[in-house]
Symmetry: C2
Subunit: 342 residues, 2 copies
Amino acid sequence: VWMGKIKIGGTHSKAVLVSAEGHILAETDGPCTNHWLVGVDNCINGINDMVQRAKIKAGLDPDTPVCSLGMSLSGGEQKAAIQKLIDDMRERYPKLSQSYFITTDAIGAMATASDYGGIVVISGTGSNCKLVNPDGTQVGCGGWGHMMGDEGSAYWISHLAIKTFFDARDNLVTSPHDINYVKKAMEEYFQVSDLMGMLPHLYRIFQKSHFAGFCRKLAEGGSAGDALCQHVFTEAGKALARHIVAVLPKVHQDLFSGELGLPVLCVGSVWRSWELMKSGFAQVLSEAQAHGYSHFQKYSLLTLRQSSALGGAKMGAKNAGASLPLDYSANVNVFFSHTFNQ
Amino acid sequence: VWMGKIKIGGTHSKAVLVSAEGHILAETDGPCTNHWLVGVDNCINGINDMVQRAKIKAGLDPDTPVCSLGMSLSGGEQKAAIQKLIDDMRERYPKLSQSYFITTDAIGAMATASDYGGIVVISGTGSNCKLVNPDGTQVGCGGWGHMMGDEGSAYWISHLAIKTFFDARDNLVTSPHDINYVKKAMEEYFQVSDLMGMLPHLYRIFQKSHFAGFCRKLAEGGSAGDALCQHVFTEAGKALARHIVAVLPKVHQDLFSGELGLPVLCVGSVWRSWELMKSGFAQVLSEAQAHGYSHFQKYSLLTLRQSSALGGAKMGAKNAGASLPLDYSANVNVFFSHTFNQ
């Protein structure tokens, strides 16, 4: 009995094959398989390809379906779309899996870290925040994609830096800092020589993941001391913290009272730039705490040491009537804690 | 000798056939033919179709090319793309026109209103601002499309209202006013029952012109007294005025000193909601004037009484060595004037 678990991201996807005892047998990578971005057909083909390669890599028979396939993807709460995805997978690839379970990337991550709950803040290509209370109830903020949010994500950071440059050139808004590093980095990353050259990257050949990838250059600039790069990451820290503040009123009392204070699980590549976001993030949470959350005394930021696919596999197994033991303490790492001044 | 002139918009296009004496012989309409949005092939086919229908409507031989074809479209400053468009048109439809001229929608509008210059502020599906000085030099602000600007446009107004609703629901940002009118109008216009339902309209089936069309419902709400609708239009007024402030430092002294003060040519359907935008617009210009433009004593807002295609035809004719006399005073209408307090 093996269980597959797939994490579907805006830029790339990851499949993990797990034994009934919870051991990882094989991992495979794939391209972006988000059905919102690539369509249902590409999504299904990509998933099948990753799982079949994982079976072969683990030395298993590719014609024998896995016991369950747990998938986490953004947009995983849309019931009708998800059911269609599962129906199509069953029909097209009957040897893929016996049962299917789909959840959001946030819930998959949370299930990897804890069965008690907390707040998940995702900032990768896009961004999203989900509160999971100890009783299992969920409250979300964000996750609407780049056209209606994604605040604090790699896409948003890239966009903010480039928009600051456009507005400065147009004399529409004065940039808070020198724009030369961002200008040069943009010209190099997108291979353009002027603002006009950016238009295809914004429209005809726009690819969210490529656009968001510019964030890495900005992180390099910020680490090297460029003030505008540091500014956009500080703003991202504020934006991500605002997602937490948005769900604070719905946080169950018990989630504040553990040893770690409010546990915030941080998922996605943007969190690698935590040092650049820290001041903005801490400022917004301190302001919120000071304005009426007296029971909010401490928070801790956690990262996953294991792929969030593990939680997806666990939930998939549970859905199929099996249980997958997870050692939560081995799965997470506390990278920041803050206790507010009394 | 007849001259065609085409105005290419984000939502629809218009062709006008003009005699050598400047009389309009026929007008035809077509769909959006912006090559950035619909591709070069659809653009060329759409243009040919409109011109040929205009020839037939005017009782002229469709196989005889017009003398010149002047076209105004957003993105008309991109030399390489424009040359390719012209080359493709010549090759595919040799009976279309003898000569071609392409300019931006802003410059086409300005050429219809005046040969002395002024500031054009376009707010239709998208937005754009262009200063044309008496010596012909141009300075632009905006016009980068919905991914990087379009502030104050119908798209932007629609987006601002919907984003305000999303953020209120997420508890991310408190709405300044009751959201119920916007909620109901959105559900009705997009035929959705919740926020999730908006996702296809933002991504898979996103059409800028349809999304921007929601602005009409907001204008209705604003006129009927809804505070949030009024708020988004006030913000649009501010945003459009900021485009003018952006080019103010480059305005030639002489443009301030005419009878009308600084002439601002207002183009596009959003200006029909001027009454809703007025307070925000006037506020931003007053603030800018108070902060160091002592020679900026008065401004007047003008609309075109004739299609901006007329200016495009004039420029196309000029490019072909002909001249098309225009009675500018008959082409414009002053709908607002303001003199600052001394």
